[in-house]
């Protein structure tokens, strides 16, 4: 894991953590240690101290239960999973099934697995268990049947985990570690294990994506690092380890990465330095014609390759920003005037070039984009700048770039900061939305001068398209529920399976809102989950309400409430209840329900920032006039 810097003063720091009593401080320090390229034994030590850290509920760290169901020995990979979780603010509690007991555990409703109530189930299975009986002489039809029946078998296991445990399922790809029989022909003969396993992986991964199952691709990782790193015959013979201990750290990282991605904790924004990162040389000294970029030189092509990669990330929904010590006008001119420049000034949602220190500028960027510092990845060739950012802002991910620019792109890719478990229409739109948001901001600046915020909102020509949560939007709705930290009333996190279950409940009202304006479609930006109270069916309870920070201050919360009230009245409901659960990140909505006209339940009176319960009498509610027109219809079942 070369993108992580080597650990500094590991024994001293670990000993100091041992002496620290404060739980948050302990976890923060352990995360900092985990953000280094640790050896197998160092990971064990971090994990040991982690296990001795009190398990109190914290808003800074998300607790998560992971069940590992495997048909090989995986105990050595559990500490690396927990330590990699720390890198992403996750405290992962793991329960591991007995060797090869996965089927019984899933099928038996009173099994330990069911009692453990995992949020995530990881299936790490051996290919042999499924296709080991297929003869080498198998016909293409026999091979098809073997692959297809495995897919069906796995699908039924996944459904168990999804529906009965409400868990996110991670399916590990099948490693092929048998010695070749023919050679190249192994990839062609229908009954050859190599061919069968390759087909199995293709078929299972495709089905997994359809079923909302997360694919853990150890095959791809082993192709990256070499099979000998991932599979070691000695360990297989000694302890039936399919994943070799020397690959355990990477394995844990991959697992934690996917869990974090499913919980919306992947990074969102790539912040790039300019000189000697996006091009070779120093623009302030060398001038536009003097920098090294593009064809004709290996160095120039390497920098261009990084630009290509950044552009491709932008196209899949990653926000780009610049953070450079430079004269702003000179830096901007480089993007305008250099013929080989692939990235355009308009590709960046934030462009900060000045002489302030980088941590200060990264804070400005996060604020401008309205995202958390922990959503940023900062790429800089300068080791001093990297160290400065790491020590001042440990929540910002800073890859340890290799000395040779030739390997920058690969290093950034290997770090997997932007791991995703789905690719939605919203992701594809995001890049454009962020440049459009620059235009909105300039309109806002104009409007502020002329006719105030109302004028700005009017000029935006907004409309809302809304409706129930359905399979069509389930992936995005789940992503939004789990990714949103600021406008999030109760921080109830749900897996896609749990959202689907709720959507099937005829008593529940689930609404998703898409906001459009003259600059484009913002996509689905808000979700309300409401269920009637069990004790009093005339009361509707907002279990959670989330809204993307991109549309704050656009009156959508008022229009969404208007729509919810209509739907609730239509059902004959009388009272709307809501709660606000404070976290480190959602103070922006501490007055939300007050603003919306709810009254606070007196029994729980307390300061603004405390947990609070609210109610709204539907009979008395007067819809609030907004600048948002209605586009869709509430399809109330």
């Amino acid at each position: 894991m070369k993108w992580l810097p080597p650990p500094l003063n590991f024994p001293t720091r670990l000993a100091a953590i041992h002496e620290t009593a404060n739980v948050v401080k302990r976890l923060d320090e352990l995360s900092n240690l985990a953000n280094a390229n640790l050896s197998f034994l160092e990971i064990m030590q971090v994990d040991r101290v982690l296990s001795k850290t009190a398990h109190t509920n914290l808003s800074e760290y998300e607790d998560l239960r992971l069940a590992v169901l495997s048909s090989s020995t995986l105990d050595h990979a559990l500490p690396p999973i927990r330590v990699a979780g720390l890198r992403r603010g996750l405290r992962i509690e793991i329960w591991a099934s007995g060797f090869g007991q996965y089927r019984q555990e899933l099928l038996e409703p009173t099994s330990e697995l069911h009692l453990f109530r995992p949020h995530v189930v990881l299936l790490s299975l051996l290919a042999k268990d499924f296709i080991g009986a297929v003869p080498l002489t198998a016909s293409p039809e026999q091979a098809n049947v073997a692959v297809e029946s495995t897919v069906q078998d796995l699908r039924s296991l996944w459904k168990r985990a999804q529906h009965e445990l409400g868990a996110t399922v991670i399916q590990q790809s099948f490693l092929m570690f048998d010695a070749p029989l023919f050679g190249a022909l192994d990839s062609v003969i229908p009954g050859a294990p190599t061919r069968l396993v390759a087909r199995l992986n293709a078929a299972v991964s495709e089905c997994a994506y359809e079923e909302g199952v997360v694919w853990l691709d150890v095959v791809r990782a082993s192709a990256r690092d070499g099979l000998d790193v991932w599979f070691d015959s000695a360990r297989w013979l000694q302890a039936k380890m399919e994943i070799a201990p020397q690959a355990a750290a990477t394995y844990g990282e991959l697992v934690a990465r996917l869990i974090a991605a499913a919980r919306g904790k992947s990074k969102k924004c790539l912040v790039l330095d300019l000189d000697n990162t996006l091009w070779g040389g120093v623009i302030g000294d060398d001038g536009v014609e003097g920098i090294v970029l593009g064809h004709g030189s290996a160095v120039g092509e390497a920098h261009l390759a990084l630009q290509h990669y950044a552009k491709a990330l932008r196209d899949r929904g990653i926000i780009l920003a610049v953070c450079s010590k430079n004269d702003a006008a000179i830096a901007e001119a480089a993007f305008r005037d250099h013929p080989e420049m692939l990235l355009k000034y308009s590709d960046f949602a934030a462009f900060v070039a000045n002489w302030n220190d980088k941590p200060t500028n990264l804070k400005v960027i996060a604020k401008q984009l309205n995202i958390g510092l922990d959503s940023l990845v900062f790429v800089d060739d300068n080791p001093t700048e990297r160290a400065h950012v790491r020590s001042s802002l440990p929540m910002v991910a800073v890859p340890e770039l290799p000395p040779d620019v030739a390997h920058y792109t690969r290093c950034l890719a290997d770090a997997g900061y932007f791991e995703a478990v789905s690719f939605t229409a919203e992701d594809q739109l995001r890049a454009g939305q962020y440049s459009a948001s620059k235009h909105r901001e300039s309109l806002r600046a104009m409007a502020d001068g002329i006719d105030g915020i109302d004028g700005f909102l009017k000029k935006l020509e907004m409309s809302v398209d809304y409706g129930p949560v359905s399979p069509l939007n389930m992936a995005r709705v789940t992503q939004l529920i789990n990714k949103t930290n600021q406008f999030n009333t109760t921080t109830l996190r749900l897996t896609e399976a749990e959202v689907a279950k709720l959507a099937h409940n005829p008593e529940a009202i689930l609404l998703q809102f898409r906001l459009l304006d003259k600059f484009g479609d913002n996509g689905i930006v808000s979700v309300i989950l409401a269920t009637p109270e069990a004790k009093d069916m005339s009361v509707l309870n907002i279990a959670n309400w989330v809204m993307s920070c991109r549309v704050f201050g656009r009156q959508l919360e008022y229009e969404a409430l208007n729509i919810l009230v209509e739907a609730a009245r239509h059902r004959g409901l009388r009272i709307l209840r809501a709660s606000y659960t404070p976290t480190a990140k959602n103070t922006v909505i501490q007055d939300l329900f007050l603003k919306l006209g709810f009254s606070r339940d007196a029994s729980l009176d307390g300061p603004r920032h405390a947990s609070s319960d609210w109610s709204l009498m539907l009979d008395n509610y007067v819809p609030r006039q907004t600048w948002i027109a209605r586009k869709g219809q509430a399809h109330d079942r």
Binding site: S39, L41, M44, Q45, R48, H76, Q238, A239, P245, Q246
Partner: protein, 81 residues
């Protein structure tokens, strides 16, 4: 490196794996003498020793080690300090 140095490193590694801070292995120690030193942690121990000393044991060696002294001896012969 002396046998004593190697013993200290081995004790540290096993201590980390078993969560025992004051592990003191001797040349005569057998696995059965150390509580919790089961076959899984034995393999982890071997993995730790191999990476610490940058050597590779043969599976035959790993199976034939009876005392910690046997491991020390194998490390000494694999390394020319």
């Amino acid at each position: 490196m002396t046998d004593k140095d190697i013993l200290e490193t081995l004790s540290r590694i096993l201590g980390i794996l078993l969560g025992t801070e004051s592990m003191a292995l001797t040349l005569q120690t057998r696995r059965a003498d150390v509580p919790g030193w089961d076959s899984f942690s034995y393999v982890s121990f071997i993995v730790g020793v191999e990476s610490e000393f940058r050597i590779t044991f043969r599976v035959a060696d790993v199976e034939s080690f009876e005392t910690v002294g046997d491991i020390v001896q194998e490390i000494q012969s694999a390394k020319s300090w």
